[in-house]
C-alpha cells in the first residue's frame, strides 16, 4: 500500500547536499522533492538514475532508489531497469555534457524507443564538475580554460535534438521558477513513454547568470513565452505581444496592431513534429524563448511491446519445459 501521506520530507535523504552555494540545482531538487508526494507512486517504486557531472549527484539526495552510474550511460542503464521492471517510475538525471556529448547516442535511442523514463537534462551550458570547460550547448566564442580563445563548436539545442529523436514528450523549464518546474515535472510524470525536460540551470561558478537575460524576474515576461495548451502564444508584462507565423518564419508583434501573419495557438498534441520544431527553433534574443511543453503525443511504449512479444510467443509455444528446449532440433538415441 502506498502511504497516502507522504510529504516532501519523506523524499529527502540523510546526505549533505554538496552543490556550490547558490547553484541552480538546489531549486530543481526542491521542486522534484515537492512533486514526488503528488505522483501517487509509492516511494519504493521510484528510481533516480544519473550519469556523471554535478547534476548527476542528484540521486544521493533523494530518499528513493538511486543509481549514480557512469558518464553518459544513464539512459541505457535506465532502459535495462525499466525492461526488467516496467512498474517502476524511473527518472534519468543528466546534464548538457553527460546527455548531449558523451551520452548523446544513448539519449537519441532511449527517446526513439519511447522507454517510459523521465529525463531531466540540466542545461547550464558548461562542464561544472570538471571545472569549467565548454559544453555542447556553450555559445560560440565562449572562453574557458579549454577554449582560451573562444569555443569553435556550434552549440546544439537540446529541444531540437529531442524532437529529432522522435521524443513523445518534450518540455523546457527553468530553475528560477519553482512553480513552473513543478507543473512541468508533474505533466512529464503523467505522460506514458519517454519524457524529455530541458531545465535551464544556473552554474554560479563557471557560467554565472548565463540565463539571467532571459529569466530574471524583471525581464522574464518580455524575453520568454510560456506555452499553455490551447492558448495563444502571448507574452510581455501586459500580455500585449504575440508570436505570429508569417510564411515559414516566426515573428513577434503587438496584439493591438498585429503584423502580417497568424497569431499562433499552442497545440502540443499535433502528430506532425513541424509545429514543435518551429517553436524549438525560437532562440533568445531574436525571439522570446519558449518554456513549457513543446510536444506531447501518444506513442506505443517499448516495454509493452517487449511484454507483448513474450506473451505472443508463449501463446504460440506454451511449452517452455527444459526437455522440449533440449530436444528441439534433430535428436537421436544411442542404445
Amino acid at each position: 500500500m502506498a502511504e497516502a501521506t507522504l510529504t516532501k520530507k519523506d523524499f529527502q535523504s540523510d546526505q549533505i547536499v554538496r552543490w556550490c552555494p547558490g547553484c541552480g540545482d538546489y531549486a530543481i531538487l526542491a521542486a522534484i522533492q515537492s512533486v514526488m508526494p503528488n505522483l501517487g507512486v509509492p516511494k519504493e517504486k521510484i528510481v533516480f538514475v544519473s550519469g556523471i557531472g554535478c547534476s548527476s549527484r542528484f540521486p544521493y539526495y533523494m530518499n528513493t532508489y538511486g543509481f549514480h552510474t557512469i558518464h553518459g550511460r544513464a539512459p541505457a542503464i535506465a532502459t535495462g531497469l525499466k525492461l526488467s521492471n516496467p512498474d517502476l517510475q524511473v527518472f534519468v538525471v543528466t546534464g548538457d555534457g553527460d546527455g548531449l556529448s558523451i551520452g548523446g547516442n544513448h539519449l537519441l535511442h532511449v527517446l526513439r524507443r519511447n522507454i517510459d523514463v523521465k529525463i531531466l537534462l540540466f542545461n547550464n551550458k558548461v562542464y561544472g564538475l570538471t571545472k569549467g570547460q565548454y559544453s555542447p550547448t556553450s555559445d560560440l566564442g565562449f572562453k574557458t580554460k579549454s577554449s582560451p580563445m573562444g569555443s569553435l563548436d556550434q552549440p546544439i539545442n537540446p529541444i531540437r535534438i529531442a524532437l529529432a529523436s522522435e521524443a513523445s514528450f518534450v518540455a523546457r523549464t527553468y530553475d528560477a521558477n519553482i512553480k513552473h518546474m513543478t507543473e512541468t515535472f508533474e505533466k512529464a510524470a503523467a505522460h506514458k513513454g519517454s519524457a524529455f525536460i530541458e531545465i535551464l540551470q544556473n552554474c554560479v561558478i563557471f557560467n554565472k547568470d548565463v540565463f539571467n537575460d532571459i529569466y530574471e524576474r524583471d525581464v522574464r515576461s518580455d524575453h520568454m513565452v510560456h506555452l499553455e495548451e490551447g492558448e495563444p502564444l502571448v507574452f510581455g508584462a501586459e500580455s500585449d505581444k504575440g508570436v505570429f507565423l508569417d510564411g515559414f518564419s516566426l515573428k513577434t508583434g503587438s496584439l493591438e496592431a498585429p503584423p502580417a501573419g497568424q497569431l499562433l495557438t499552442h497545440q502540443p498534441n499535433q502528430e506532425s513534429p513541424i509545429y514543435a520544431n518551429l517553436l524549438a527553433a525560437m532562440e533568445y534574443p531574436q525571439l522570446p524563448l519558449p518554456v513549457g511543453v513543446f510536444r506531447k503525443v501518444p506513442r506505443p511504449g517499448y516495454e509493452a511491446g517487449v511484454q507483448g512479444q513474450i506473451a505472443q510467443a508463449r501463446t504460440k509455444q506454451p511449452d517452455d519445459s527444459l526437455q522440449t528446449l533440449f530436444h528441439s532440433g534433430d535428436t537421436w538415441e544411442v542404445k
Binding site: 519504493e44 530518499n63 538511486g66 549514480h68 541505457a76 526488467s84 528446449l325 535428436t331 537421436w332
Partner: protein, 599 residues
C-alpha cells in the same frame, strides 16, 4: 575405417556450410562421434571465385570418442579453383580430391591466380584426383523441374553431398526430410534439391568412380539421447536453462558482432521462455542495459567479442563497484583491433583479468568444448548471483561454431541454484556482507530498502560515498577476497593421461580437444605425458599449486602469446616450456605432438 575427415570447400555462395551441416547431422544421427570446424570469410559475399571468398566446413566423424575436427582432411571437395588453392595444402597425401571440373574455366583460374590449370599440370598427382562435371551433371539432374539455370546452379552442393553420402555409406533420409521442410513452400526448388541429392548418390554408385564405399561404424557413445550442438547454441541453451533453474527471467543486452551474433539470434528465438533480448545502439548500451536489468533483479547477460569488451570495460567496472551479478560472454576472435573476425584465438584472457582501471577482480571461466558451453553458462550465473560479481565466460570462434554430439541431460542432474533478494527491513545496509562476502541483492520496488549505489567508492555497510583511505583499502580487499574465495566453491584441477607422467601439458578453454588427443596419442606411444586443462582461471582451482608442483616439466600451449603462461608464472612461480600459436587457426594435434617430441 575408424574415422574420416572431410572438408567441403567452395565459394561463400556455394552453400558449403549447409552441406557440411547436413553431413554432420546425418553422421551424428547414424551414431558417429563428430567434431566440426566451419571456416568462412568475414565478408558475406567476398568477390566470387577468389581465394578470400572461399568458405569451408570440416567434419571429423569416428567410431571412437573424438575431440577435434581432425588435423588434415582425408577427403577434400573443392567446388572451384579458389577452393582448391585455399585448401589443397591441408589434404593428406593420397587423400581423395573431388573437384568440380566445370568451374575450372579460364576466368576462374585467373581469379584464383592459377597460371596453369592444376588439373592438367600434374601438381595434384599425389592425391586421388576425381574431377567431375558437377555443374553439368546437376543441370541435367534437375532438368525435369524446369527451374532456371541460376537456380539449378545452386543445387550442385546437394549433388556433391549425394556423392559423399554414397562414399561413406550414409542414409539420405535425414537430408531428404530436411529439404522437404526447408523448401516445402517452393515445390520446384524442393524437387530440384531432392533430385540433385539423389542423382549425386546414384551417380557415384553407378559410375563406380570409387572402388568402395567406406564404412565408419557407429561410435560407442554413452547411452542416451543426443543432438548435435555448436558452442554458440550450447551457451544460449545454457543461459536459458540457468534462467529456468533460478526462476528468474533472462535479459540479454547485445550489439551485433562476429562471431557472437548467433547467440543473440538463438536467444531471440526463445521469447517463450521469458527471454528478453535487447539489441542495443552500441556495445556500451548493451552492457549498461544488462547492468540495469541486473539491478532490477533479472539474470543479466551481455555478449560480444574482443573489440566489444574494450568498449564495455568501463561499465563492467561499474558492475564490479556496485557488486551486481553480470555475466559477460566473450566469443574470442583473432587479433587486436578488428583483427580477423571469423578466425579463432585465445588472446583476450588478460583483457578479462586486467583490462579495466583500478583493481577490478572478475571471475573468469573458459569452457573447453562446445558441450561445456552449456554447463559453464549455468555455472557463470550460479557464481555471479551467489557472489554478486561480474563473471566473464570466454568462449572462442572455434568452439562457438564447431559442433559435437551433446548428450541431452536429465533435468534432475542439472545444478540447482537459488536466488535470494534482500527483504524489507529496518536500517537496511546495502553493503553489508554474508559469510561468502556477497552484499545483498536489493531490487527496486522492495519497500524499505531504498538506497543509492554508484561507481564512487562505497563505505563499508552503509554504501554511502566514501573517500576514507582505510575504507578504500577495506573495500578493495573485500572485492578481491570475494573472488579469491570462490576457489573453495569450484572443482579442483583434474589430470588426464599417464598417472606416472613427468611432463604436464597445460591449456585452457577451447584448445582442449587438440591437447587431449595429443596426450592420448603420446600415451599410446608409451610417452609419459599427462594433461591438465583450466576451465576456471580466476580464481584458479584450489589445488593448482600442488598439481603443478608434481611435475618436472610443464608445457603450456595456448592460442596467444602466452597469457595463461603469464598468469601461472606470476601466481605459482614455475618454469614452463611454451607452445604459442596465433594464426587464427586452432591447434593441430600433430603440432602438439611434434613439440612434445622435440622437448
Amino acid at each position: 575405417m575408424e574415422s574420416a575427415t572431410i572438408r567441403f570447400s567452395g565459394d561463400s555462395g556455394d552453400g558449403m556450410q549447409l552441406t557440411g551441416t547436413q553431413f554432420t547431422n546425418t553422421s551424428a544421427n547414424f551414431g558417429n562421434d563428430i567434431s566440426t570446424f566451419p571456416d568462412f570469410p568475414a565478408e558475406i559475399r567476398a568477390p566470387a571465385g577468389t581465394v578470400p571468398g572461399v568458405s569451408g566446413f570440416q567434419i571429423n566423424f569416428s567410431t571412437h570418442d573424438i575431440h577435434t575436427p581432425g588435423d588434415r582432411p582425408n577427403v577434400l571437395v573443392a567446388m572451384n579453383p579458389a577452393a582448391l588453392k585455399a585448401n589443397v595444402a591441408d589434404l593428406e597425401d593420397g587423400g581423395l580430391l573431388l573437384i568440380n571440373s566445370d568451374a575450372f574455366t579460364k576466368v576462374n583460374l585467373k581469379k584464383a591466380e592459377y597460371e596453369v590449370n592444376p588439373l592438367e599440370d600434374g601438381s595434384l598427382d599425389r592425391f586421388r584426383l576425381i574431377p567431375m562435371a558437377l555443374t553439368e551433371l546437376t543441370h541435367r539432374a534437375v532438368e525435369p523441374t524446369g527451374i532456371s539455370k541460376k537456380e539449378a546452379d545452386r543445387c550442385k552442393n546437394f549433388f556433391a553431398l549425394g556423392i559423399m553420402y554414397y562414399l561413406f555409406d550414409r542414409n539420405l533420409e535425414l537430408s531428404l526430410t530436411w529439404i522437404d521442410k526447408k523448401f516445402g513452400k517452393v515445390p520446384d526448388i524442393k524437387e530440384a534439391n531432392r533430385l540433385a541429392l539423389l542423382a549425386g548418390y546414384n551417380f557415384a554408385d553407378t559410375t563406380e568412380i570409387f572402388a568402395d564405399a567406406y564404412q565408419v561404424p557407429a561410435a560407442n557413445l554413452k547411452k542416451g539421447n543426443y543432438r548435435s550442438l555448436t558452442g554458440n547454441q550450447a551457451v544460449a541453451m545454457g543461459f536459458i536453462t540457468a534462467s529456468k533453474l533460478a526462476g528468474r527471467p533472462l535479459f540479454y543486452g547485445s550489439y551485433p558482432i562476429t562471431p557472437a551474433s548467433d547467440v543473440l539470434h538463438e536467444l531471440a528465438r526463445h521469447r517463450h521462455f521469458g527471454v528478453q533480448t535487447f539489441q542495443a545502439e552500441d556495445e556500451i548500451a548493451a552492457v549498461c542495459a544488462a547492468i540495469g536489468a541486473a539491478y532490477g533483479g533479472h539474470l543479466a547477460l551481455t555478449g560480444t567479442s574482443g573489440p566489444g569488451i574494450c568498449l564495455k570495460a568501463e561499465a563492467i567496472n561499474l558492475a564490479v563497484m556496485t557488486e551486481l551479478p553480470l555475466v559477460i560472454l566473450n566469443v574470442q576472435r583473432a587479433g587486436p583491433s578488428t583483427g580477423m573476425p571469423t578466425k579463432t584465438e585465445q588472446s583476450d584472457l588478460l583483457q578479462a583479468m586486467y583490462g579495466r582501471n583500478g583493481s577490478s577482480p572478475c571471475v573468469v571461466l573458459a569452457p573447453a568444448t562446445p558441450g561445456e558451453c552449456f554447463t559453464f553458462a549455468i555455472e557463470a550465473f550460479r557464481l555471479a548471483t551467489k557472489y554478486m560479481v561480474p563473471v566473464f565466460l570466454l568462449s572462442d570462434g572455434y568452439i562457438a561454431n564447431g559442433a559435437e554430439p551433446w548428450r541431452i541431460p536429465n533435468e534432475a542432474d542439472l545444478p540447482k541454484f537459488e536466488i535470494t533478494y534482500a527483504e524489507s527491513q529496518e536500517n537496511f545496509q546495502p553493503y553489508s556482507r554474508n559469510n561468502h562476502l556477497a552484499r545483498p541483492w536489493a531490487v527496486p520496488g522492495t519497500p524499505g530498502l531504498e538506497h543509492r549505489i554508484g561507481g564512487l567508492e562505497k563505505a563499508h555497510l552503509s554504501g554511502n560515498v566514501s573517500y576514507d583511505p582505510g575504507n578504500h583499502q577495506l573495500m578493495t580487499d573485500y572485492r578481491a577476497m570475494k573472488v579469491r574465495n570462490i576457489r573453495e566453491d569450484i572443482p579442483g584441477l583434474e589430470i588426464y593421461g599417464d598417472p606416472e607422467a613427468e611432463t604436464l601439458l597445460v591449456g585452457w578453454g577451447g584448445t582442449y580437444g587438440a591437447l587431449f588427443t595429443a596426450v592420448q596419442n603420446q600415451n599410446k606411444q608409451g610417452k609419459k605425458v599427462a594433461g591438465a586443462h583450466f576451465r576456471y582461471i580466476n580464481p584458479f582451482p584450489a589445488n593448482t599449486a600442488e598439481v603443478l608442483a608434481r611435475y618436472k616439466r610443464i608445457v603450456v600451449a595456448e592460442l596467444n602469446e602466452g597469457q595463461l603462461d603469464f598468469l601461472l608464472k606470476a601466481q605459482f612461480n614455475i618454469q614452463t616450456h611454451t607452445l604459442f600459436k596465433v594464426q587464427g587457426k586452432p591447434f593441430m594435434v600433430r603440432e602438439i605432438i611434434d613439440f612434445l617430441n622435440a622437448l
